[in-house]
């Protein structure tokens, strides 16, 4: 769960530790009727969202921040047919770029986009994990897609 939010292993481990500490402290609030996994997932989600909110760092993805390899990657991907699989090196570049793209989004938008577009989760599943209403999940995902698309359009526009 923490890896959804943090690519850095130590950050993900910190979030996981905090999750288990909170779960231990709030053990009395667990009624024992529902799934423990679901209960822990919700605590983990809220913990990760809080960490990201506290960071308050949403650097905009701009062309000047792109490395040569990232610019090359963008050119290659946009010029070639989209179905082409990425090799290991390209995957690393793609994940770096994706991380920076996600960092520019609000934590809630990021979660909705990652779960729905990345993992193929349904709106209902995201609502269960987060405790949000389905309409909020839809709005968050819509906004995240729009922002991510706009950021990439900007990069592609500058490149062109």
């Amino acid at each position: 769960m923490a890896h959804r939010f943090f690519r850095d292993r130590s950050q993900a481990e910190d979030a996981a530790q905090e999750t288990f500490l909170k779960a231990f402290a709030q053990m009395k609030s667990f009624a024992g009727l529902g799934s423990m996994e679901g209960w822990l997932t919700r605590i983990a989600t809220n913990t990760c969202l809080n960490i990201l909110r506290a960071a308050k760092r949403r650097p905009e993805l701009v062309t000047s921040d792109l490395g040569d390899n990232e610019t090359e990657w963008l050119e290659r991907v946009s010029d070639s047919s989209r179905a082409q699989p990425l090799d290991a090196e390209q995957k690393v570049i793609a994940v770096d770029l994706a991380e920076r793209l996600l960092e520019s989004l609000q934590p809630e938008d990021r979660l909705a986009l990652t779960m729905i577009d990345g993992e193929g989760a349904s709106v209902n599943e995201v609502a269960e994990v987060t405790g949000w209403s389905e309409s909020k999940v839809k709005v968050r995902a819509f906004r995240a897609r729009k922002k991510a698309r706009a950021a990439l359009e900007k990069l592609l526009g500058h490149r062109g």
């Binding site: 890896h3 959804r4 690519r7 292993r9 993900a12 053990m27 667990f30 024992g32 799934s35 423990m36 996994e37 963008l74 991907v77 946009s78 989209r82 990425l86 995957k91 793609a94 994940v95 770029l97 994706a98 991380e99 793209l101 996600l102 986009l113 990652t114 729905i116 577009d117 990345g118 993992e119 193929g120 819509f142 897609r145 729009k146 991510a148 698309r149 706009a150 990439l152 359009e153 592609l156 526009g157």
Partner: protein, 165 residues
């Protein structure tokens, strides 16, 4: 069709979830609209990036032992049961004396309320059957004696006068 921009379709749902007809609509429009063509390209790259990021995260995901949840839940239930018993014991230790004394007082009051009035009723019934108590009889006898004595005294006083007349 050319005038309807496709950005809303792109933002409404994941690209992978779009139907074949929606994709045909997008491609047809993108062929004639440069802005939408760029939007479609950006959306495609965005989807590719997000997929790459989540597949990498999935590789790092640690799967817990399948029995983990069962074991944790069993331990939790056991703890809950012991906590429940311990709470009752602690409550009894703290309030046992006062609860016991209150129970004893209540029992005593119940005895006085329901048993003692029954005894009084029996005495009253006896009193109703026997209208004169031994004391009354004795006192009455005294009164009679006094009255007789007084009469005798009066008679004795005035008897001399009557005899003198």
């Amino acid at each position: 069709m050319k005038d309807i921009h496709i950005v809303d379709i792109l933002d409404n749902a994941p690209l992978a979830d779009l139907s074949a007809s929606e994709l045909r609509t997008i491609e047809a429009h993108a062929a004639t609209c440069a802005d939408c063509a760029r939007a479609f390209e950006a959306a495609s790259i965005s989807a590719l990036l997000i997929k790459s990021r989540t597949s990498e995260a999935a590789e790092h995901t640690l799967n817990a032992n399948p029995f983990f949840e069962t074991r944790v839940l069993a331990a939790w239930r056991e703890q809950q049961a012991s906590v429940g018993a311990w709470s009752f014991g602690r409550l009894w230790n703290a309030t046992g004396a006062i609860v016991a004394s209150m129970a004893a007082t209540t029992a005593a009051l119940a005895v006085l309320t329901f048993v003692a009035p029954a005894n009084n009723a029996t005495n009253q019934q006896i009193a109703a059957v026997v209208p004169y108590s031994a004391e009354t009889v004795v006192l009455d006898q005294d009164q009679d004696d006094n009255q007789l004595t007084n009469d005798q005294v009066i008679n004795a006083i005035y008897a001399d006068d009557d005899e003198g007349k």
